[in-house]
């Protein structure tokens, strides 16, 4: 496993706080991602992991704090501007374009690399540019081993394939920072092992921020891990350090609630509100 470079963080979250009404979803959260590093973000339900991703993507604006990409602030960027800055994200709910083919889905992901504009589209002269995007999309599909599904519609595909389509759509944009939101949920043990290999392989071209519940996967692929609980960073370090951190053990690993249970999430938020 490569050692992340300490000198220049690719991406930094500095003292970010988010409030929803009276609820403090994030409180003074800071973390750094080095180039080519896999950073795991873990924590019990309602800890603020997805909120953190939403802040990074510009869907939620922080009350305080700063976001920096290569030292420059990206705090005020709107969601559609992030792709252009090399940030891509997969969604927990996948959000595939259901009435478009798999190839078209992935080509939308490559949109930031497209050059043909409206006029070329109107005159039907953008097909070379389109062929280039299609080739890129096919490459990524091939890399993930799902090229044979290129002409299918996502709705007709099994869930693990759909997840790979979502991943392909994010990867084809050639991001420098890839945010993966629960990539392992709903996968079998074998599929999860494969996913681990894929993520490790991705570090050659991008840094990865990973929100995930499956500890085995997190411990095996992450270089460093940040642990959130009730919107605060309670621990940060290498997988070994995290594994033995008493605060983490108390807050997270001792937490036996069913993670996909919405009730548990609601409960956690209520607790956070009271705290």
């Amino acid at each position: 496993m490569q050692k992340p470079g300490e000198a220049t963080p690719l991406f930094a979250v500095e003292g970010v706080s988010v409030r929803f009404g009276g609820v403090r979803a994030l409180e003074d959260v800071s973390l750094e991602v080095a180039p080519h590093e896999v950073l795991g973000v873990i924590g019990p339900n309602g800890a603020g992991k997805t909120t953190l991703f939403n802040v990074v993507c510009g869907f939620v604006s922080p009350a305080e704090g700063e976001l920096r990409l290569r030292g420059e602030t990206i705090r005020d960027l709107r969601p559609h501007q992030l792709a252009g800055h090399g940030i891509a994200r997969t969604l927990q709910g996948l959000g595939l374009f259901e009435r478009m083919t798999v190839l078209d889905n992935v080509m939308v992901g490559a949109d930031r690399l497209a050059r043909a504009g409206f006029v070329r589209g109107l005159l039907g002269l953008g097909h070379r540019d389109d062929a280039r995007l299609a080739a890129k999309a096919r490459d990524v599909l091939g890399e993930l081993g799902i090229e044979s599904y290129a002409t299918r519609y996502p709705g007709s595909l099994p869930y693990p394939i759909r997840k790979k389509v979502a991943l392909a759509r994010a990867l084809v944009a050639e991001p420098e920072l890839l945010l993966l939101d629960e990539p392992a949920s709903g996968l079998s043990a074998e599929e999860m092992t494969e996913l681990g290999e894929i993520i490790t392989g991705l570090t050659e071209r991008t840094a990865v921020m990973l929100v995930e519940h499956h500890m085995d996967l997190v411990m095996s692929v992450c270089h460093r891990i940040t642990v959130l609980d009730f919107g605060r960073v309670i621990a940060a370090g290498t997988p070994d350090e995290i594994r033995n951190d008493p605060a983490v053990l108390a807050a997270y690993l001792g937490d036996q609630v069913e993670h996909d249970d919405l009730d548990a999430e609601v409960h956690a938020i209520t607790v956070a509100e009271e705290a």
Partner: protein
């Protein structure tokens, strides 16, 4: 056959070439048919052309970018009034006058499209329908109140006389159809020429990155945004393109009806356009063409049908809305995806088998 197909492949793989060839062949066939038709049918063909242009723009907006517009009748009114006012001033005698009037109609509707599209882009589902409905209700009333627009009586539209057309056009038409061009066939030819051009442009857009962005925004706005697509901009562009089509259609309609009055552009027109688009198959240009054909020709057949059942002419004219409603209900019941949408799986299977055949052919 197989050799022909492989010879044509470089051409058919380029969308522009493919769309142009299809449009050109279709245009020649239709022009021959128009040339042989009666004056009454020529008027119906002209009507079908401008309905199809408006429906094509609407099906792009609703089917591809996912915005429902109940205001396209009003946008046609804007185009019709713009073209009429220009024709009034220029006299409308020459072909140039006609094209200037249509270009102005398109331009004015582009501006209206942006003005309406910018706030509408922030709205979703029923809200954008409501906003465009306001347009449909307000525009005819405005026209009613303004003296420049002729009030309720409307404005007469001067139309070019066929004898004023350049000699080469008259010769060309005569060469292709063996019939002298007159005012009615001229409007039908003009309508179908512009329809072909519009549909080539719309088909190009739909196949291009622009159309892909629209579909993405329609299917999942969050994912589209994460892919770097500006949602508002994509929606406004779609609305503006669609409004420009409605403007062109309105301008052509004014020349055909020869009277531009508020009564022609009520909410009924907007709803009828939407029904035509749904009937043909949402998002499909072929569907829009079929829907427009039904709009233009159904009254003719329904009236005939009524008369053959022994109804008087006035009674028979009332049959049209009933038949139209029945056709729409039948399509929605039997083919919920519209006529083209329901045929698509069948067509896909056909082309899949022929593609299979060609690969077999290649390997042997």
């Amino acid at each position: 056959m197989e050799r022909l197909r492989s010879l044509l492949r470089p051409v058919t793989s380029v969308p522009l070439a493919r769309h142009l060839i299809v449009a050109l062949v279709a245009l020649l066939v239709v022009m021959a048919v128009i040339g042989m038709s009666s004056q009454y049918l020529q008027t119906r063909y002209a009507e079908m052309a401008y309905f199809a242009i408006a429906a094509g723009g609407l099906t792009l907006l609703t089917g591809l970018s996912g915005q429902l517009s109940l205001g396209h009748g009003a946008l046609m009114a804007v185009g019709a009034y713009a073209a009429t006012l220009v024709l009034e001033r220029t006299g409308g005698e020459s072909l140039a006058d006609v094209f200037v009037a249509l270009l102005v109609a398109i331009g004015v509707c582009a501006v209206v499209g942006v003005v309406v599209g910018v706030p509408a882009a922030r709205l979703h589902g029923p809200y954008i329908a409501g906003a465009t409905l306001t347009l449909a209700v307000a525009v005819p009333r405005l026209a009613n109140q303004w003296d420049v627009l002729g009030g309720e009586q409307g404005l007469q539209v001067p139309v070019p006389r066929a004898s004023e057309l350049p000699a080469w056009i008259q010769d060309l038409i005569w060469f292709f159809t063996a019939v002298e061009i007159d005012q009615y066939s001229f409007l039908a030819y003009l309508g179908w020429l512009l329809l072909a051009l519009t549909f080539v442009a719309l088909a190009n857009l739909s196949r291009s990155r622009v159309g892909r962005r629209w579909r993405a925004v329609r299917d999942d706005d969050v994912s589209a945004e994460l892919a770097g697509i500006h949602l508002g901009r994509a929606r406004v562009v779609a609305f503006t393109v669609s409004a420009m089509c409605a403007g062109l259609a309105g301008g052509l309609m004014a020349m055909n009806v020869r009277l531009t009055a508020p009564g022609a552009f009520t909410i009924t027109l907007s709803l009828t356009l939407l029904a035509a688009v749904v009937l043909g198959g949402l998002g499909s240009l072929t569907g829009a063409l079929i829907g427009a054909g039904v709009l233009a020709f159904l009254p003719h057949f329904a009236t005939d049908l009524g008369e053959s059942f022994g109804l008087s002419a006035t009674q028979a004219a009332e049959v049209t809305p009933v038949v139209y409603g029945l056709v729409l209900m039948l399509v929605i019941l039997l083919a919920p995806a519209g006529i083209v949408g329901s045929l698509r799986p069948f067509l896909a299977r056909l082309s899949a088998t022929s593609a299979l055949g060609s690969t077999k052919e290649k390997t042997t």
